[in-house]
Symmetry: C2
Subunit: 434 residues, 2 copies
């Protein structure tokens, strides 16, 4: 998506562009699939928010509409084996079966503390944040161990991290976590809307515009820089250009063989930006039957399916519940058969929503951990000490090589908006290069 | 080295082997350079210990001798701007200028606590260690924050981590750190001896034996598995074999394009095993003049040059001091010119050893961060949650693909001995495969 946006921008400004795509399709983490009744689901990212100006404007220019995510009704909470429903945001306002009022208060206090730390982040350069060295030398788990004794408060922040990064809080730098919140804050409602016909159609439409400038099935293996240009090798073909924009996740950028070699900090950065671990599920029903029961379709759980969301069209026909498994739980599930996973995931959804959920007419799994040309999802997750040690090297162009991909955007990192922003930034950097 | 050992073993057992080497030389992190007076220095690893049976036996079979590292004399300690010398091991036995007796006692207590945790590690499967989830969800820095209030105690453990892993304690999983100690414990004296003529001659000699089975300058880009064999692509050539042993650091193994794709946990593991960051220096003098001053040549410092060691031949002619810069300090120094780095490093060595150190006749830098076919040094450093989430996937063969390299050995990980062990293990696994 980021590469397509940079290419589209350059083409509109009259430049010649070739897009080398490793897969036999475009779009990377933006990918849709048709389901019954003319419905579509996104196997990758799906949501957008009202302040994400660039993706909204892009969608408009492509004629893609969007609608408000369904948010009426109550949210199911499954915690420590007890089930309840709440109205309004999470953490809840009142006690739930397994959590006392004190536990709820503590969860609010810790979540506000997390958000107040996020408010101190230097979004453009997180490594310059106050106490960045301290926050970057610890995991979110370690921060939580000192911030509170409440298991429920820890669960609330941990669930947010798992859902936001697709990674466990024990794998994630605390500085990266607060920087990630600051880059796409909840108050900007990043999950406010869904696209009519799914987000995955956006790269499809850009690809139609770009036509035969796109060459599929061409994983880039080598980039050679000369004084006056670059040579990009993909399979047995070579492409010569003035500049190259590398728009793949950092670890895949690191897998390319560069001549001359990249500066050491950039090489070492790409070793330290692993992709999160997310398996996305979609359970499709003839209707969004939970709506009539006063449920929003949202659930938050300490089980393997950590979150579900109503991803149906406004009509609720078909009814689509998406669910997410992330972090070590996702890695563990990859050792099971697809059938065993399906059984396990459906069972958890039935626990949350009742027997009506038992027999989806379609049940779709997208295992991003097995996607070699992405390597995981949602995005790169920085382990401790990465931002403070390698931050300045992350986005810096290297001669005629520029970097794109949502990971390269300081604002809205990991979102569509970040992908678009990074693509535009790279395109304009190329235009401004000597 | 690991690949050469597996190849040599297979050849001795009558098998046909081809070794595809990315560089124009063999040996990877084992590499020597000649200096004045017939001396040799290792630009990579150099030490061996008396319990490392496989590398010792290999050296014997190749006719390479070794001698005791020089350890007479006092060790220089530079801490918080004060300089002192101590006799015996570190932490010292008595107060030093900037550390009270209480601080010394606390350092011993914390270091013994670290060692006692290491003694609980399940070396073959560190993820099965008691409390592994807790230790793996925190960095060494976080563990130190709760283990002690003493800055000096923290420094002692941090210096060990920097020296052992080439990575900052804030980047390193506590579980990985204690597992690393357990895999090559100090009591086994892993730095007891040095090779006559340097360790780097060992891969040279194995290469002489293997002859034209070795093909240089052939970075492997793709490995395809069929039912009856593998096809390995390197540049524009393809090699067919019954099995392949991939003997490169994990992140470089992850940069190869596999058909069919590797299992998800193995793919994601290779994104989470970055190389440490070490720049090695050698200051060469006509004689080991520090010996006559009662100094061992060893120094331990909170400066950028965190450690030095006498690496001269037994005669002390020439005199060779090796020095190490690691972690974020090494990354920071890569932004300076080589001249500026030299000036800075020599200045620190002069601080430790006096004006005699000012003018080495040769001054050699080996910046492992810039070595694209290794990607850093000494070895892969596992960030939090990697061992517990991906441990079982790290070494497991995938069909006809087996993994070698010192990172694949549970015992002596990161040492020559680990490289030899992993090479032998892979060779025998291939022989035992159906």
């Amino acid at each position: 998506m980021s590469g397509l946006c940079s290419a589209r921008e350059l083409v509109q400004l009259g430049k010649d562009v070739v897009i080398l795509e490793a897969r036999d399709r475009v779009g990377g983490r933006m990918l849709r699939k048709s389901v019954i009744d003319g419905g579509w689901i996104d196997l990758g990212g799906q949501w957008i928010g009202p302040t994400q100006a660039n993706i909204l404007s892009l969608a408009k220019s492509l004629g893609v509409k969007y609608f408000d995510s369904y948010d009426a009704g109550r949210t199911v909470i499954s915690y420590r084996g007890a089930l309840t429903t709440i109205d309004g945001p999470f953490p809840p306002d009142a006690a739930i079966p397994t959590v006392t009022t004190d536990g709820i208060d503590e969860a609010h206090r810790v979540w506000e503390r997390f958000r107040s730390l996020a408010a101190t982040v230097n979004v453009e350069r997180p490594w310059l944040t106050t106490d960045s060295a301290d926050f970057d030398a610890q995991t979110v788990t370690s921060w939580l161990a000192t911030a509170t004794n409440s298991d429920f408060a820890r669960f609330c922040v941990s669930n947010w991290v798992l859902n936001q990064e697709g990674a466990d809080p024990g794998a994630t730098s605390m500085l990266f976590a607060i920087a990630s919140y600051a880059a796409g804050p909840d108050e900007d409602e990043p999950e406010h809307s869904l696209f009519d016909g799914a987000a995955g159609q956006i790269p499809e439409r850009i690809a139609e515009e770009l036509g035969d400038r796109i060459v599929l099935g061409k994983p880039v293996t080598r980039i050679t820089q000369q004084a006056d240009g670059v040579t990009v090798a993909a399979g047995d073909q070579e492409y010569c250009a003035e500049f190259v924009i590398v728009a793949v996740p950092p670890h895949l950028a690191g897998a390319i063989d560069y001549y001359p070699p990249l500066p050491a900090p950039r090489m070492q950065f790409t070793q330290r930006a692993p992709m999160g671990s997310v398996i996305k599920y979609a359970a499709v029903y003839p209707t969004a039957w939970w709506r009539a029961k006063g449920l929003s379709g949202a659930s938050i759980s300490d089980g393997d399916v950590l979150l579900t969301a109503d991803s149906s069209p406004p009509s609720g026909i078909p009814g689509i519940l998406t669910g997410f498994v992330a972090g070590a739980a996702a890695v563990r599930l990859t050792y099971q058969s697809e059938n065993a996973r399906r059984h396990h995931v459906v069972s958890e959804i039935v626990t949350y929503f009742g027997e009506d959920a038992r027999h989806p007419v379609e049940f779709i799994e997208m295992n991003w951990l097995g996607e070699k040309w992405t390597g995981g999802a949602y995005n790169a997750v920085l382990a401790p000490n990465t931002l403070t040690t390698y931050g300045p090297a992350m986005t810096e162009p290297v001669g005629r090589i520029h970097w794109a991909g949502t990971e390269m955007s300081a604002k809205w990192t990991g979102y569509f908006e970040g992908a678009v922003l990074a693509g535009y930034t790279a395109a304009h950097a190329v235009l401004g290069s000597p």
